[in-house]
């Protein structure tokens, strides 16, 4: 059944609030942390680690065309072509799935 407009708006409003709180919360926490070399290095490594963890966690559930697409995207993006990398990856997956 399709949810009514009111509960839909409440659900989305809550999602937006939660998301803004985590977005701003990281800044609040990082501001009260001491600026020691260890903390600075930790903050510097956070972003990249987030993205690596996202990719690895998703790949664990991917099918074969998905894995092949990721390898193609990785190789092309490493050559500095992020957009064609994405399109090429999707194309590879589409072709493999059409077989």
């Amino acid at each position: 059944m399709t949810p009514d407009a009111r509960s839909t708006a409440v659900a989305i409003g809550g999602m937006a609030l939660v998301t803004y709180l985590v977005r701003s919360g990281g800044m609040v926490v990082a501001q009260v942390l001491p600026g020691t070399p260890g903390v600075t290095a930790f903050l510097r490594h956070l972003g990249g680690s987030v993205i690596v963890a996202l990719v690895t966690a998703t790949l664990a559930r991917a099918d074969l065309p998905g894995l092949a697409a990721t390898v193609v995207t990785l190789l092309l993006a490493a050559r500095g072509r992020p957009t064609s990398a994405l399109v090429a990856g999707m194309t590879v997956a589409a072709l493999l799935r059409a077989l």
């Binding site: 059944m1 809550g14 701003s24 956070l46 990249g48 993205i51």
Partner: protein
């Protein structure tokens, strides 16, 4: 405008950020289209789809709640899933804090609303090259938000004529987008230890770390390993 410590926020910065985001913008538009298609398939209405993309602005979390979308809406699971999937944003904004904290008033709070992987990568790449104008991050975020909305609308409108989006690899847009972002965030061999640790840590069994917290825990471990390596003498 100039803030403490020579930190700037200018129109020129906004433009530099926007221009540096062109490849990212194309990817975000495709990602938005993927979400528009997926949302329509679970019969979200047009306004709800656009409201979600506009106000939540977080692809992974938006995809994650779609399977839950039927009446009566399970509010607590929807919000909890959003919290778990988006918790990683707190790490991205924490890593931007050395830059954000030079600004006063509403500026850092408004900028925080735009945090996401793509614009984080654009901004930190610029920061590493000496850029200190926060306009670069905001400009990138605004471009991504705009094309993300346009993509969402386009995908929503095109959905009925598309059929199964898996045929076009649309279900893979998110992971491929993150893969491309990961490559542009690579700063050389010194990233190997933290990245390897983060990747390995996603293999921690679900009995120890629940799947929805996997990314957050793995990222914290990766950053801790990087910090330990950097400060050990």
């Amino acid at each position: 405008m100039t803030f403490a410590g020579g930190a700037e926020f200018s129109i020129a910065g906004l433009r530099r950020g926007a221009l540096a985001s062109i490849p990212l913008a194309i990817a975000s538009a495709v990602l938005g289209a993927g979400f528009g298609v997926a949302a329509r398939q679970v019969s979200l209405s047009a306004w709800a789809t656009l409201l979600m993309s506009g106000s939540v602005f977080a692809g992974a979390a938006q995809f994650a709640v779609l399977p839950l979308w039927s009446a009566p809406l399970p509010l607590a699971p929807i919000w909890f899933s959003t919290l778990a999937v988006n918790a990683r944003f707190s790490l991205l904004s924490a890593s931007l804090t050395p830059w954000l904290k030079r600004y006063r008033g509403a500026t850092p709070w408004a900028a925080a609303a735009l945090v996401g992987e793509g614009q984080w990568a654009v901004a930190t790449t610029a920061y590493a090259k000496g850029e200190r104008d926060l306009g670069v991050f905001v400009g990138s975020g605004l471009v991504v938000w705009t094309v993300w909305m346009a993509g969402t609308l386009g995908g929503f409108l095109a959905a009925p004529s598309l059929g199964d989006p898996r045929r076009f690899g649309l279900d893979l847009v998110l992971v491929l987008f993150f893969t491309a972002t990961m490559t542009s965030a690579w700063r050389g061999p010194r990233d190997l230890a933290p990245w390897g640790a983060a990747a390995l840590a996603t293999r921690i069994p679900a009995s120890i770390v629940a799947p929805e917290w996997q990314v957050l825990v793995a990222a914290l471990i990766g950053a801790a390993v990087g910090a330990w390596r950097d400060t050990r003498r």
